[in-house]
């Protein structure tokens, strides 16, 4: 693969403000009632005064071993040369196998296009124009970093080497490409 695009979500910097979610909806014409991206503010956990929230990014994890691609009977779900889990709308028959198979519960049927939908790092909108994904572009506190880890000099490549990070539910063997820097309160100290 020529590129290995990833997003790093720094939960220390994230304030759960949903700017990312709104920008994604606007850029990608995501209809009401469904979403490609949200940040869930969970908690607070712990005992007062030592409380902490968790800021959990809910979006396609861009799995290297993607269950949605495996179950897709028509080849509509595929992994592109850029490593991005993508959808060919003309091949989608709306069977919803992928929606059921996604362990992160981030695929949905788009009520307007009737095609399976989810985050694709703004592949056919912003990336195509040479811009950063909408969520990264607007994030008020710079909590999101996007880039290609095949490029050793990229900020994401360096960050993943230097900062303690984790991925969601790695035990499933999905190899997600959304990396998370845990909050220094209550989590792994980085």
């Amino acid at each position: 693969m020529s590129q290995r695009y990833v997003i790093v979500h720094d939960e220390n910097k994230c304030i759960g403000c949903q700017a990312c979610s709104v920008a994604c909806r606007s850029e990608n014409n995501v209809p009401d009632g469904v979403s490609r991206l949200q940040v869930h503010i969970q908690g607070p956990f712990g005992e007062a005064p030592n409380l902490h929230f968790k800021y959990h990014r809910m979006s396609c994890q861009q799995c290297e071993n993607a269950p949605c691609v495996t179950v897709c009977p028509t080849g509509a779900a595929y992994i592109g040369d850029d490593g991005i889990v993508s959808i060919k709308p003309e091949k989608c028959v709306g069977c919803m196998y992928c929606v059921a198979a996604c362990p992160y519960k981030v695929r949905f049927m788009n009520p307007e296009t009737k095609v399976a939908d989810k985050c694709n790092f703004c592949k056919d909108t912003r990336l195509a124009r040479g811009e950063q994904p909408a969520c990264v572009d607007v994030c008020p506190t710079d909590a999101l970093v996007f880039g290609d880890t095949n490029d050793n000099n990229s900020q994401v490549a360096k960050m993943l080497l230097q900062r303690a990070n984790y991925q969601d539910s790695t035990h499933l063997g999905t190899k997600p490409r959304v990396y998370r820097i845990p909050t220094k309160k209550g989590g792994i100290v980085s």
């Binding site: 910097k13 304030i15 403000c17 909806r25 005992e47 909408a134 607007v138 008020p140």
Partner: protein, 736 residues
């Protein structure tokens, strides 16, 4: 719904450009620089303007969702006349000519019979208030009001008393930030929010938060103290006590710049951390330790003086005490401290050359002389408030009790006192009593629902406005430009109030043709400058300057050959003066003592914000809504449409309340139904709700009846000197 966008056939959005257009957001009052582009004729992608470095080219959820208001079917796009009773919700579409005629007939009638001062004018500040207040002046009424006393007024008034002017925070360069419930991570102010996060995460600054609730800013803090509501002043005074008694204060700074230190030092002698602990529940040892840590970072440290300032009747003392804790470490005009904005005239003077263009102020000569006193001008103690937006809630007293005289008309623009002012019933009563009410808004807000006439304003994405000053440490300007062509039969407020003025026979006071003429007047007909500002959307000039910061001053002096000569210590410290009677920082003030006897020196006074058997009721901001203005915006309503009430598990348990249960809150003025959010993130003696929900008018279809209406629980109370509307009260909680 007559007059709403739903009644129009849905067409494609017509962008003014195929590319990005630079403009200014209006989803809250921070007004961040934005850059917007129409997507497929369907919606608008709104990002930050990358030219504005301090804002990082970023935008928050509210800013990003602005376009969802633009084509919201519930938006009003035709002038409406009330046809039923006030508040009944019966409307009839009328033409703009009919609307202006209705305004002219009613307002001129009041003027003739009772004088122009019998009409109050209130507006969200900005270009909007500029034009509405100009109409008020031309009409002859002194009674103009912004929302200041229901939100940020007190920190401005306290600053005026001490420094003679407003100050800014340099959080991005702070090494130690002490924050009293200024929730910059939910009440997002882009440059400050980013500055604080950078200071914390990239530069290792320490953040200490005193707040009754575990907010997002409390979560991101190194230390959080669940302070008793309204007692911040005690902790701030105890910090000042420690700074003075433990000899940690900047004596040279105090000697050179400060007036009234001795009186203040004498007063704070009694305010020990042990004393503050008994009032605030913040441990004395922590107050001492934090103060020492703070002083060790001086002068690159800051006590944040806050924004929304409606916590207590003692706002004036509280905000002044917060400034005092800054003054004592000498952080004024130092990196990481607080500083004065550097607008073009002052900056150019330091540089000895015209680094930044100075904009002209288009105005009109020979406006009628107004002899009537403002309704809030009778009580001398509020004299610093008059020029800062006035005591907003005094409109209610003047209407209901004719104090100091009878109001009969109210013209409003983009303001929603039915939500933000205390005691909703009293606002209703006042609105029912008035002879005539006109409201300019995008929606039929809870307040607009009681109007006789609704003037539909174009949203900010359809408006051009004047160039605005956005100077920080160096001069800067930016401008609002329309991103799409106007939808429906709406108009920008500058046009509405100009045309209304013409209909009222005041045309001579509105000599400009349109916004372009006004902009050209501002730039002294320098077309090239205007084009540059419009193309970039945001321009700054020169380099950051803080007068007492040697590194900045030496760089500045080296850049400009005719620059002011540096003092011996390599700063411009000798040029630092203040617009106070003494020209110094007035820690204690004879002027204030005269206005409000007993308040010349900052002093603690016990306050009773609730009865013993009640819980404190406090409110705050959430990142996806703007107080009372955004609850009906589709995308934001979908993110959050309700404000569940935060209740501590122990408090909830004692009343048999479980998470998600229906509950009631009852105060001295009202009862509200809501939902319980049981969380350890709140004090046991306090309940919290986000502001702006629980609308009671059916026109706001997405917001009606959802959540707790805060204004309906807060009694009418005004704090001394600052005129602030107090937003903390006592409530009784029960399972519904």
């Amino acid at each position: 719904m007559p007059g709403s966008l739903a009644a129009l056939e849905k067409g494609d959005l017509k962008g003014v450009s195929a590319d990005y257009v630079a403009s200014i957001c209006e989803m809250c009052s921070t007004r961040c620089p934005i850059s917007a582009r129409v997507v497929d004729g369907k919606n608008v992608f709104i990002g930050g303007n990358k030219e504005a470095k301090a804002f990082g080219g970023k935008v928050c959820a509210r800013g990003g969702a602005g376009h969802s208001m633009l084509y919201d079917p519930q938006r009003i796009v035709k002038p409406l006349r009330r046809v039923g009773e006030r508040g009944e919700g019966k409307w009839q579409e009328i033409s703009w000519d009919e609307a202006y005629e209705m305004m002219a007939t009613n307002l001129n009638d009041i003027k003739q019979k009772h004088g122009a001062e019998a009409v109050a004018f209130s507006s969200k500040s900005g270009s909007l208030s500029g034009h509405l207040f100009h109409l008020a002046k031309a009409f002859g009424s002194p009674n103009t009001f912004t929302h200041a006393t229901t939100c940020p007024g007190a920190y401005v008034i306290a600053a005026k008393a001490i420094f003679g002017t407003k100050l800014k925070r340099d959080l991005g360069n702070s090494k130690y930030i002490i924050n009293f419930g200024h929730n910059l991570y939910e009440g997002i102010n882009m440059s400050e929010t980013r500055g604080m996060m950078k200071a914390q995460m990239d530069k290792g600054a320490k953040l200490v938060v005193f707040e009754p609730r575990f907010s997002i800013v409390a979560d991101k803090a190194d230390e959080w103290y669940a302070i008793r509501p309204g007692t911040d002043v005690a902790v701030a005074l105890a910090m000042c006590h420690v700074l003075i008694e433990d000899n940690l204060y900047d004596k040279a700074f105090v000697a050179q710049y400060v007036e009234g230190f001795d009186e203040f030092a004498k007063e704070v002698k009694a305010y020990t951390p042990e004393w503050a602990e008994t009032i605030s529940d913040v441990p004395a040892a922590d107050i001492r330790r934090i103060t020492h840590e703070y002083a060790a970072c001086a002068p690159h440290a800051c006590v944040d003086f806050g924004h929304r300032a409606t916590f207590t009747t003692e706002e004036f003392e509280m905000r002044r005490a917060l400034y005092a804790a800054n003054i004592l470490i000498g952080n004024i005009e130092r990196k990481g401290g607080i500083y004065l904005g550097k607008k073009a005239p002052a900056y150019n003077k330091f540089a000895g050359e015209a680094v930044a263009p100075v904009l002209a102020k288009p105005g009109v000569k020979n406006l009628p002389k107004i002899t009537a006193k403002r309704i809030d001008q009778v009580d001398e103690q509020f004299s610093m408030v008059w020029s800062s937006g006035g005591v907003y809630q005094s409109i209610l007293d003047a209407t209901l009790e004719a104090v100091p005289y009878q109001l009969r008309g109210w013209v409003m623009s983009r303001t929603n006192p039915m939500q933000t002012m205390t005691d909703r019933n009293r606002v209703v009563e006042a609105m029912l009593k008035l002879d005539f009410i006109a409201v300019c808004d995008v929606y039929i807000s809870e307040t607009a629902a009681y109007a006789d006439l609704i003037l539909p304003e174009s949203t900010y994405l359809e408006r051009d406005e004047e160039i605005a000053d956005k100077s920080g440490k160096n001069p800067g300007y930016y401008v609002r430009q329309r991103v799409v062509e106007v939808i429906g039969d709406t108009k920008p407020s500058w046009q509405i109030f100009k045309e209304a003025g013409e209909a009222m026979g005041l045309g001579q006071y509105f000599p400009w043709q349109n916004m372009e003429t006004l902009q050209l007047m501002q730039v002294n007909k320098d077309h090239q400058l205007l084009k540059q500002i419009k193309d970039l959307g945001f321009v700054t000039y020169g380099q950051p300057l803080m007068l007492r910061e040697p590194s900045m001053v030496s760089k500045f002096a080296a850049t400009y050959s005719n620059a002011r000569e540096m003092d011996e210590d390599g700063t411009y410290g000798s040029a630092l003066s203040f617009k106070t009677p003494s020209g110094k920082i007035e820690l204690s003030s004879t002027k204030v003592e005269k206005m409000a006897p007993g308040r010349g020196v900052i002093r603690y006074r016990p306050v009773e914000l609730k009865q013993a058997d009640e819980l404190y009721f406090i409110q705050g901001k959430v990142a996806v809504h703007t107080n009372a203005g955004s609850q009906n915006v589709p995308m934001l309503s979908q993110l959050m449409s309700d404000n569940a009430v935060w209740i501590h598990p122990v408090t909830a348990g004692a009343l048999g309340i479980q998470h998600g249960d229906a509950i009631t809150l009852t105060s001295s003025v009202g009862t509200e139904k809501g939902q319980a959010l049981v969380t350890p993130g709140i004090r046991q003696d306090t309940v919290f709700a986000y502001m702006g929900f629980g609308s009671k008018n059916k026109e706001l279809a997405r917001a009606v009846g959802k959540g707790v209406h805060c204004g309906n629980l807060l009694p009418h109370k005004t704090s001394p000197v600052t005129g602030m509307n107090v937003h903390t009260t006592g409530v009784k909680l029960a399972k519904a």
